[in-house]
Symmetry: C2
Subunit: 250 residues, 2 copies
Amino acid sequence: MQKIKKKQKFLDILSQKTKTRFLLKKKSEKEIPKRKNSPLFNHVPEIVIQRLPIYIRILTKIQKQGKLQISSNLLGELSGISPGIIRKDLNYFGRFGKQGSGYQVIELKDTLKTILGLDGTWNVGVIGLGKLGDAIASYTGFTNAGFRIVALFDTDEKLHGKKISRITIQSLDELKRSVKTRNIKIAIISTPSNQSQDVANRLIDSGVKCILNYTQSSLKVPKEIILKHVDPISTLQSMAFHLKNYHLNK
Amino acid sequence: MQKIKKKQKFLDILSQKTKTRFLLKKKSEKEIPKRKNSPLFNHVPEIVIQRLPIYIRILTKIQKQGKLQISSNLLGELSGISPGIIRKDLNYFGRFGKQGSGYQVIELKDTLKTILGLDGTWNVGVIGLGKLGDAIASYTGFTNAGFRIVALFDTDEKLHGKKISRITIQSLDELKRSVKTRNIKIAIISTPSNQSQDVANRLIDSGVKCILNYTQSSLKVPKEIILKHVDPISTLQSMAFHLKNYHLNK
DNA sequence: TAGATTGTTAATCGATTAACAATC
DNA sequence: TAGATTGTTAATCGATTAACAATC
C-alpha cells in the first residue's frame, strides 16, 4: 500500500512514455506472483545514487557524438562500472532498456536527471570568498549540471559590494533573508576552517538543507541535513599509501 | 614465507617500541595455531586506507587538547565511525592499543602517518593555474598533511615567470625535467577539462605516479597509475536526489 | 527467425556488527 | 582485584558477480 503510493508519486515525475511502459509492467505483474526483494523506490542504496551522475555524464557525451542507443556493456566500458551493476542500478527506478538494443540515450539521460532532481535548477549560496570561494563562484560548470550560484557571503567587510560573475558579495547578516528570498536549499562552505562550524549553524538556522563542505574541518549537523565533504587532503593521504607501498618498493 | 617477508618489511618502518611489541606477538603465536584470515599487511581494503586520514585528523585534534590516551569508543564518537570498525582497521597493521586504557594518542597518530607514508614530505606539481589552480597552489593546508607544492605549470605563456607562494609558473615544456629534478611523484590537474587527458598523458610520460584530477572529465590512465577524482559536481548531484526525495516531499 | 541485450535471480564476495575472551 | 577496553571471532548485512530466461 505504502509502496504503491510511493511508486505512483515517483512515476508522476517521469515522462509519459516511460510511465506508460511502467504501467504495462504493473499490469502484467498481476499475473505473476509478486517478487520478494523487488527493488522499489524507497531504500535505494547511497552507492547507487552516487553512480547516477556518472551515467548522466557519459550519456551526455554519447549524445553529443550523435549516438541514439547504448548498451549496458558500452556504458560499462566507458564508466569502468560493470554492466550488471548498471542494469541493476537502473532497475531500482524502472525498466528503461529494450532487450536486443539497449537504452535510448536521450531518454535515459533525461530520466536519470529527473530522478536526481536535476530537471530544474537548484539555487546555491557560497560562503567564504577567499581564493577557493572565488574559484567556486567563478566556475561555469555548475550551470549545465543543474545548479546556479545566486548568492555570495563573506565576513570580510572589504569584500561586501564586490561582484563575482555578476553576483554581489553580501554580509552574513543578509544570510537568512537571502536564503528565504532566493529559495536557497544548497550552500557551499569555503571559509577558513575555524569558521566553518559557525557558518554551518547559521546556514541551517536560515533554512539551508544541503551543505557541501570545502573546508578541512568536519562538521556536526542534525541528521536531517544533507552534508558532504570535499576533502582533497584525505584523498591525497590515502593515495600516498599506495604510492609508498605498491609503487616505490617494487 | 612471502607473508613474513612483507610483515618484516612493514615493521622496519614502525617505531622500535611498536616493533618490540609486535615481535612479542609473533613469539607467542608460535604456541597457538595460526589463525585463518588473520589480517596482514597485504590486501588492506581500500575503504580501510581511506579511513586512516580521518583517524589522523582526530588524533591531531585530540593531541592539541592535551589528551594522551583515547579509546576506540571516543574515537568512534568523534569520527562517526563505529568503534568496532576502528579497532579492526587498526589491527590490519598491528596491535597498537592497550586493554583497559585504549590507544596512546601521539604514538598512534605517528604510526598511522608512517603507515600512510606521511612521515616525510611528498613533492607535488600543479598543472593549470586558473582560479582553481591558484587556490590550490596558495592553499597552506598541504604542508601539515605531508605534501609540498614545488612546481607549477600552465600552457598560457602570459603566466610563465609569475609566482604563486614563491613558486614560479613554468611552461609544460619544463614538465619532464622538473618532475625528475624535483622528484615529483604526485600531480594535481586543474586545467580546463578539455586539456586534462593530454596533461595526464604528459605527466605519466614524465614519471608521475599519482594524479589528483580536479577537472570535470574522467581520465584514462594505465592501471599502475594511482588516480582519484575530486568531483564536486557529482557530489552535488547525488545530494540533490536526497533533497528532492526526502526533504521537499515531506 | 537468429542475434543481441535486458531484467532478474542465485551465488559469491566483502564489509559491518555483535559479542566476548583476553588482558591491561 | 575490579573495571575498562582491546583484539578477534562468528553472525549478519549488503553489494557485486555470474548466469540465463525473457524478449526485443
